[in-house]
Structure formats: structure tokens, C-alpha cells
Amino acid sequence: MVPLSHYLVLSAILFGIGLFGALSRRHAISILMAIEVMFNAVNLSFIAFSRYLPQSQMQGHVFAVFVIAVAAAEAAIGLAIVLGLYRNFKTVNVDEINLMKW
């Protein structure tokens, strides 16, 4: 049986990839996608803990379902924000959207 550490390492790798994407991509939708990757890395670790920890009673599964639902809502709102940004700035490149600068 594959040990728990394998899942956790995979989850950490995925989270790192997502974080790197969120920090390095310039396109707003790419950032959203990277965040989705981070969500799913967290989901993977939830499920893994739920399967391997002895006193677990489905809390991990429930959390994963919650995260998926929240992620769906977040994606909807995020896309709406991206659309709003595009209407105002004619671009979705986050480098060019810097009105909050000093």
C-alpha cells in the first residue's frame, strides 16, 4: 500500500506549482487556474489524511466537498471580476492594473 507520505509529497509539489503559478503568471485567468491547482493540492491532502488517520470519520471527505463547492463559487466570482477588469482596462494583465499604487 502506498504510504501517506507519498500523497503528502505529491500534494506539496502540486501546492508549490500552484503557488509559483499564482505568483509568476501575468494573465488573470492563469492566476485563477493556479489557485485551482492549489485548492486541489489541499483537497488531495484532506482525502489522504481521511483515509490514513485511524480516528477519522469522513471529516476529510466533507471538507474536500466543501472546498470544491467554494472553489466553484470562487471561480464564478473570479471570472466575473476578470470580466469587470477587462471592461474597465481593456486588459487582463495584472502588471498593467496598478491603480492602487502609491
Binding site: A22, L23, V94, L99, M100, K101, W102
Partner: protein, 666 residues
């Protein structure tokens, strides 16, 4: 009715208020208000006078005017024979002159202003004569001085007129200072300024009054001399007479009312009112008599050579006032006041006659450009003749009785030198009056063509007052003055001065008649000389006479250079003193003030430097530090969301690492 005496001055005051505040409305109807006010006032005065004749009198305080510590001065009126005579003369003559003014001033642009001043003058003069204390009398005294100033300078566009007004005011100030000082002394001695209290207090204060004070003179003498200084100013006596001839710059009715009939007699009235004090001061009385006689003579000489019709009459007024003071000085107060009354009538008449002539000749005042006006101005010339005869002292006209009484009293008082001066003055009086009369109304016609074209007798509004005054001039002398010293007038007014303890010099009937005859002969001689020289208008004798006594003639013609002397001594010298004092002011006083100012500025500079450098510097440094810090801190806010995200991630990682390093929660 005698309690209603306050109405007499208040009625003209109503006129002042109406014409003064609503002059733009009354406009050329201003005379109606003014004449109605003075007319009613004269009517009330007449009723009160009649009541005083039958024995009424009044001394009542109406209102406490000034109250300061022990000092108190009421507004109160004193009605006795003396003040009622004055009141009657002032209101009646004043009323007639107001009527005349309506004609004389009819096309003047300042019509309401003129009548406001005239009414204000009436108010002041009536307050002066009716006051029951020195302070209220002084209020009237100053009031008439003010009105005199305003009315002399009435045509203020003319430099000479406004200068004359100022001159009158300034010269009067000198006299007023005397009156003020006298009032201080009276207050200190008697503790009151009310006539009755002062005169009743004389007995108690005799020791103090007779004590020598300044220059070895007794206190009462000092008081009287100070009062007399005021009288010489107001009544144009030597040495303060210089303002009166210049006062002729005013409109002629003003000259008649103020500078002949009423105001200038205020000094005589005050001396007569203060008779109880003067009677204690023989030295002061002698000074009054000498100044009066010398003025009478001195002014008469000047009147003989003047060529301005009004100035002749002005010098005549000064001369006649001199007779009044001569009368007071020899103790004949009643006669002096009698002369005051008769003089008011005939001198007002003379001035109004002059006004009528000037009016007829379109403003000409030089008598060398007149002549043969008798047919053209019948009423004026007739009344003028009466007034001239009265002034010259021809029996039975007004001036004879009063002037003769004064001269007789002088003679009886053994002042023979003063009597001789007065008689010489009387000779010249007759001469200059008829020089004036013959030159203007007879003699040669020297009227220029332009004026001759407009030549006309004055309208009835002017000639009727002339005729009324003329009638009074004809009548009042013998009606009230006969027999001398015992006539109606003397029985009426004499009581006031008998109570004052005046020493009357008895005079025999024979001497009275002799003196009267002498006086009449002197007057006739003067008239005869004038007739011989001026009746035909081409007699070379006057010119030859002037040639013969050239030095004397020039001196008199230039009025003894008194004005020039005063200017040189007082005006120029005064200016120099003032300039020197100004130098002290500018150098020392201003210097001290400016130095203090400079010092303050210097100290302020240092203080400002400290403020700028230290206090402001401290505040600015703090601000700079904060600003610099903020400048570097604001760079963190890049606006790039990923930077924030990175920082957050790094921070979370850091916290996690630290957490783990510290044992991971175990």
C-alpha cells in the same frame, strides 16, 4: 404769567429746531417760522415786563444742570427790573430785525441757515440776560459768541468774512478766559454762583473779599477786573475792540442785531448785574470808567475818517459802548443801562438804514460813491436822520437823555478829565454822524451809473421796521427819561442798584440844566462843522485840513495801526513761540516716542529670529523626518497584487518554519 418766563428763550429755540433740522423743507419760507418764534417771544416778554412793572418778580431754579460734589449750578431764571428791561429790548429789537431780514436776505441761498443762526442767537442772548447764576449766564455768553462767529462768517466763501469771524471768536476767547477765572474765584469765595446767593453773601465774606491778593489788589478787585476783561472782549472796549469793525463783514441785519443792539451790550449788562461786587472795588470801577471814556474818545476819532458806511457806524458803536462803561464806572449803572436801551434802538436803526442804502445801491458800501440819496430813499433818509440826531445827542431824541445822564454823573463824581474826554467824544460823535448823513443823503451825487440804474427805495418789509424803530427813537428818551434821574425808567430800574449800595452823587438841578445845555451846544457844534464841510459835497476844507495835519490824519485813517501792532506783537510772536515749541515737540517728545518704537522693533527682530530658527526649525525637522520615512515606506505599495501575494506567502512560510523550529505545537 411771570412763571412762564422760560417760554421767552424756548420759543426761538423751537424756531432753531424747525429751521435747523427742516431747513430744506422750509426753504424760502424760513422767515415765517423765525419771525413767528421771535414775535411770540417778544409778546410773552412784553406781558412779563408789564407784570414786573406792577411789582412781580421771579427767581426760580427749573432744573439742576450741573451737580458735582458741593458744586451745583441750576438752570434758573431771574426776572427783576434789570433783566426784564434787557429782555424787552432784546426781543423787540430782535423781532423788528428779523422782519427786516426777511426783506434784506430774500434772495440769499442760505436763507434757512441765516434764520436758524439768528434764532439761536436770540436763544443765547435771552439765556444770558435771564440767567440767575453766573454759569448759565456764561452759557448764553458763549452762545452769543458762537452765533456771532457763525453770522460774521455767514458768507464764508469770502475769505475776509471767514477771517473776520475767526478774529471775533479768538479775541472774545481772551475775554472769556477772564470771566471763567472770575467765576472760579466767586465760587471759591461764596460757594455759589447764583446771583442772589453771591450778593447776599457779600456781608459775610467781606473780610475775605477785602484781603489783598494779587499785586496788592483786594480779592474783590481782582474778581471785578477779571469780569471786566470779559466785558472788554464781548463789548469791544480797549484793548480788545479790534474784532468789531471787522465783524461788519457779516450781513447788515446781523451787524444791527448782534454788533449794535444786543450782544455787544452783554458786557455792560454783566458789569451792571455784578454792581454789588463792583461797588466794593473802587479801583476796578475807576478802571472801568477810564477804559470806557478812553474808548469812547478813541473810537470816535477813528469814526471821523472812515469811508465804509458800516465801519463808521461800527466805530460809533464802540464809542457808545464806551459811554456805557463810563456810566457803570462812575456808579451810574441805571443810566448806563438806559443808554444801552436807547442805543439799541437808534443804533439798530442806523445799521438797518445802512443796510437799506447798501441794498438800494446793489451792495455798495463806500460812502464816497454815494450822495443825494434823500429823494430816492425818502423813508430811509428820514429815519436815518432821526437816528443820527439821537446818536449825536440832540434833545429830545433817545440818545440825549441817556448820554447826558452819564456825562452828568461823571461830572458829579468829580471825574472832570473823564467828563472832558466824554464831551470831546460827543463833539466828534455829532460830527461823524452828520458827515455820514450829509455825504450819503445830500452832498454830491457820486453813485456810479450801474448802481444808479437799480436805485430804489427798499420794500415795506424793510422800511416798516425802520419806521417803528424810528418812532421808538423819537419817543423812548423823554417818555422814560424825563426828568433826568427821576423819570419812569429810573424809578423802575433804580431800585435794583439802590439795593446794591451804589453811591449816588447828588447833583443840583441847576448843574443838570447847565450840563445839558453844554452837551447840546457841543453836539450842535459838531453838526454845524459837518454841515459846513459836507452838505454841498464840494467844500475843499476837509481835504485841506487833512493836508495840514497829515501825520495825525494818516495815523487815524490807519486806525492807529492797532491791528498791525497786534499782529506784530501777538500773532507773529505767538507763531514764533509755537514754532519753537513745535521744535521741542518734534525733537524731544517725538524723538523719545520714536526711540522707544525703534527699540521695540529691534527687540522684536531678535525675538523673530529665535522664533524662525529655533521654534519653527524644531517643528519643521520633525515633519521632515516623518516625511522622509513615509517617502521610503510608500515604495512598498507597488500596486502589483502578486508582490503582496508573494510577501504573504513568504510570511506564512516563515511563520510555519518558526513554528516548526520551536517544536510544532508540542
Amino acid at each position: 404769567m411771570v412763571e412762564m418766563v422760560w417760554l421767552v428763550p424756548v420759543l426761538p429755540l423751537v424756531g432753531v429746531v424747525i429751521n435747523g433740522l427742516f431747513g430744506h423743507k422750509t426753504g424760502h419760507g424760513a422767515h415765517k417760522v423765525a419771525i413767528a418764534a421771535t414775535g411770540l417771544s417778544a409778546a410773552v416778554a412784553l406781558v412779563i415786563f408789564v407784570q414786573v412793572v406792577v411789582g412781580a418778580s421771579l427767581d426760580r431754579d427749573i432744573y439742576t444742570w450741573v451737580a458735582a460734589g458741593e458744586f451745583a449750578a441750576p438752570i434758573g431764571f431771574l426776572v427783576d427790573p434789570l433783566s426784564s428791561v434787557m429782555m424787552l429790548v432784546v426781543t423787540v429789537v430782535g423781532f423788528l430785525i428779523h422782519v427786516y431780514s426777511a426783506g434784506y436776505m430774500h434772495d440769499d441761498p442760505g436763507y434757512p441757515r441765516f434764520f436758524t443762526y439768528m434764532n439761536l442767537f436770540m436763544v443765547s442772548m435771552l439765556v444770558l440776560v435771564l440767567a440767575n447764576n453766573y454759569l448759565l449766564m456764561f452759557l448764553g455768553w458763549e452762545g452769543v459768541g458762537l452765533c456771532s462767529y457763525l453770522l460774521i462768517g455767514y458768507w464764508y466763501e469770502k475769505k475776509s468774512a471767514s477771517d473776520a469771524g475767526k478774529k471775533a471768536f479768538v479775541v472774545n476767547r481772551i475775554g472769556d478766559a477772564g470771566v471763567l477765572l472770575a467765576m472760579f474765584l466767586i465760587w471759591r469765595t461764596f460757594g455759589s454762583l447764583k446771583f442772589t446767593e453771591v450778593f447776599d453773601g457779600i456781608g459775610g465774606a467781606k473780610a475775605v473779599l477785602m484781603r489783598p491778593s494779587v499785586l496788592g489788589l483786594t480779592l474783590v478787585t481782582v474778581i471785578c477786573l477779571l469780569l471786566f476783561v470779559g466785558a472788554t472782549g464781548k463789548s469791544a472796549q480797549l484793548p480788545l475792540y479790534v474784532w468789531l469793525p471787522d465783524a461788519m463783514e457779516g450781513p447788515t441785519p446781523v451787524s444791527a442785531l448782534i454788533h449794535a443792539a444786543t450782544m455787544v451790550t452783554a458786557g455792560v449788562y454783566m458789569v451792571a448785574r455784578s454792581a454789588p461786587l463792583f461797588n466794593l472795588a473802587p479801583t476796578a470801577l475807576l478802571v472801568v470808567a477810564v477804559v470806557g471814556a478812553v474808548t469812547a474818545f478813541f473810537a470816535a476819532t477813528i469814526a471821523c475818517v472812515q469811508t465804509d458806511i458800516k465801519r463808521v457806524v461800527a466805530y460809533s458803536t464802540i464809542s457808545q459802548l464806551g459811554y456805557m462803561f463810563l456810566g457803570c464806572g462812575v456808579g451810574a449803572y441805571a443810566s448806563a443801562i438806559f443808554h444801552l436801551g436807547t442805543h439799541a434802538f437808534f443804533k439798530a436803526l442806523l445799521f438797518l438804514g445802512c443796510g437799506s442804502v447798501i441794498h438800494a445801491l446793489s451792495g455798495e458800501q463806500d460812502m464816497r460813491r454815494m450822495g443825494q440819496l434823500k429823494e430816492k430813499l425818502p423813508r430811509t433818509s428820514r429815519t436815518f436822520l432821526w437816528a443820527s440826531l439821537a446818536n449825536a445827542g440832540i434833545i429830545p431824541l433817545a440818545g440825549f437823555w441817556s448820554k447826558d445822564e452819564i456825562l452828568a454823573a461823571t461830572f458829579a463824581g468829580h471825574h472832570y478829565l473823564l467828563w472832558a474826554l466824554g464831551s470831546a467824544g460827543a463833539l466828534m460823535t455829532a460830527f461823524y454822524m452828520f458827515r455820514l448823513y450829509y455825504t450819503v443823503f445830500e452832498g454830491k451825487n457820486n453813485v456810479d451809473h450801474h448802481a444808479a440804474h437799480h436805485l430804489h427805495e427798499s420794500p415795506p418789509v424793510m422800511t416798516v421796521p425802520l419806521l417803528i424803530l424810528g418812532g421808538c427813537t423819537l419817543v423812548v428818551g423823554w417818555l422814560f427819561g424825563f426828568p433826568p434821574d427821576h423819570g419812569l425808567y429810573h424809578r423802575f430800574v433804580g431800585s435794583v442798584f439802590e439795593e446794591a449800595g451804589t453811591a449816588e452823587h447828588a447833583i443840583s438841578l441847576v448843574l443838570t440844566v447847565v450840563l445839558a445845555v453844554v452837551a447840546t451846544l457841543i453836539a450842535l457844534a459838531g453838526i454845524g462843522l459837518a454841515k459846513a464841510w459836507y452838505k454841498t459835497g464840494d467844500n475843499p476844507a476837509p481835504a485841506r485840513f487833512a493836508e495840514q495835519f497829515r501825520g495825525l490824519y494818516t495815523t487815524v485813517l490807519n486806525k492807529y495801526w492797532v491791528d498791525e501792532f497786534y499782529i506784530a506783537i501777538f500773532v507773529t510772536f505767538g507763531k514764533k513761540v509755537c514754532r519753537a515749541l513745535w521744535g521741542v515737540d518734534a525733537g524731544v517728545v517725538d524723538g523719545a516716542v520714536n526711540g522707544a518704537g525703534w527699540l521695540t522693533v529691534a527687540i522684536s527682530r531678535v525675538s523673530a529670529l529665535f522664533d524662525f530658527r529655533f521654534v519653527d526649525g524644531l517643528v519643521n525637522r520633525i515633519a521632515d523626518v516623518i516625511q522622509g520615512g513615509s517617502q521610503s515606506l510608500r515604495k512598498i505599495q507597488t500596486g502589483v497584487i502578486q508582490n503582496y501575494l508573494l510577501a504573504m506567502s513568504v510570511a506564512v512560510l516563515l511563520v510555519t518554519v518558526i513554528y516548526m523550529a520551536m517544536g510544532g505545537g508540542r
